[in-house]
Amino acid sequence: MTAMTEQHFLSAPWQWASHLPQVATSGACQRDHADFCRDVARWQHAPLERGQDAILVDPDPWSFTCALLACWHRGVRVILPNDGQPDTLAALAGDGARLIGAQGWTPPPDAFVGPPVWGALSAEAVAIDIFTSGSSGTPQRLTKTFRQLAHETCAFSNAFPLAYGVVVSQVSLHHIYGLSAALLRALTEGLPFSLTPCRFPEDVHHYLHATSVAALVSSPAQLERLPEALDANDRPPQQVFSSGAPLSQDAAVRARRQLGCTITEIYGSSETGAIAWRDRTVASHWQPFDDTDVRADGELLCLRSPRLATSDWVTHADRVRFIDARRFELLGRADRIVKVGGKRISLEALERTLAQQPNVVKAHCVQPRSANDRIAAIVQLTPQAVPHTGTERKALIQALREGLQDAFETIALPRYFRFVEHWPVNAQGKLTRATIMRLFQDLENRDVPRWLGCTEAPDDICHITYEIPEHLRALEGHFPGLPIVPGIALVHWAMQEAKTRWPDTLTTGALERLKFPTPVRPGMRITLTLEHAPARLAFTIRSQCGQHASGRLRLKETAHD
């Protein structure tokens, strides 16, 4: 196979039907090159002024792709936000950019248009603005030129060649990894991409059986949760990629067995793009891509690659140990040494010791409030060890602190613990700063319960776990000696959560069938289940003690208002 080059990418080979006869498929549904040209042309009618940037948010891979290419070939720079939250979009639109996609302008479905304009892509022009995931601070805005994207795409094509088949992405195309490893790779190599979003294992199962999968572009969040029933050994994908966070060896072995294919982990970041790869079942060290130079700068990784914004060496915040001139092991981030009361403490050392305690699956330590302040720990427990009452929680914290006491000074021991059943990562497999803030929000705000994560299922159902802090304001005066959470507070939380989750839903309709069979006491761990149906929103609050509240909200239909 000839090597993929920057020139090949910049020539935009996807504009030729001979290169890309089938653009996308879901097995049952196909999109050919004529559909592609028609929809790119429709998106090119987006009402953008000369020089105006587009903000593109669209969860549908087909619309996203057509809109993105429509902009690029018209010379429009595209901003890809991390999420479609109204605040995020408003802040970006304030800079003069126009929102297109699911929440903004979309082409009229039956618009008759001519052929698309395939304007040239210039190597040094900015193609996209993206945002870091925010796992190590507030999200930073970054730009990527077409040259950088070309090399991002070539790196995958050249290191991991594919025969014909569908490129299935389980990760967002709004991030550099999904965009380059899945979408741009497919377009450049003339392979069809997955027509529908594939976040859930059911989706992967579908593609594995309905199509021939060339590559599955995934993340630890998804590979760690493959259902036991999933077995692709009779139709394995050619390649599986994982990026966004480290994949545990256990998960790598299991995923390899179930998918019948090597799992290639990609190490990189939004800033640097892809840097190196490894097969966790073979080795724990990383092998840089052929076009990437690496060396150590003190204990930090220093690199140079055509995916960087500069041709100079760049020092990364990750600490490394080289095992030979090229291969290295990652030791963790340099910024994970913090000070508490002036004393230096390694958060990673704390996490390692915590992870050795009985029933602890995983731990992450943070300073949620400010530098030099108390350490807090997010701890994933085995299901049977999860505390369901205040008493159980206290005993567990006591045991964990005792387990740490020999290795750490009292000052270094986590003061705040958040016990989770599922690691609270986003669709990219990241534990973001926003999630961390949410986990500790009750420290600052006594009106909110302690949020401990949300598990989503398809079909508009979600489960949110909370604990009732001893100092919740709603407990005041209800009742001396026997505090309980008033029903009105429970309903309020359910409605707040619904509003965040489905911002377009009017949560002001009539509440009905409210029931509060048993009271919620401080220290309890409760689960709120929200179920969104077309005309109503049902909620239930349960704990180990049974059902505490339920009810539903009849939704007003906006059209008749």
Binding site: G341, R374, I411, Y416
Partner: protein, 91 residues
């Protein structure tokens, strides 16, 4: 066994400790007035001592000496602390 019921001042101080130090799982009822606040009992540490010192100064106008040994006596238990506040407030 010691009497674990709290005087009004002890109750107030227990609330002050919980609020100041943001002990998220401790309620006033959990604090045994005779148990050590630091080390094994409530598990408070040297930063807590500083913060608690500031809070006492703010609330009661009590200034603690920087003498660590003396402070250790004052902070030995809730009962000791209450005695200190009583004495200094009166003077």
């Amino acid at each position: 066994m010691s009497d674990t019921s709290l005087t009004p001042l002890e109750h107030e101080l227990a609330e002050l400790i919980i609020d100041t130090l943001e002990l998220e799982d401790v309620s006033v009822d959990d604090i045994d007035p005779d148990e050590p606040l630091f080390g094994d009992g409530l598990g408070l540490d040297s930063i807590d001592a500083l913060e608690l010192g500031l809070a006492l100064q703010k609330r009661y106008g009590i200034k603690l000496d920087s003498d660590a040994e003396e402070n250790q006596t004052h902070f030995a238990s809730l009962r000791h602390l209450a005695a200190l506040v009583e004495a200094r407030r009166a003077s």
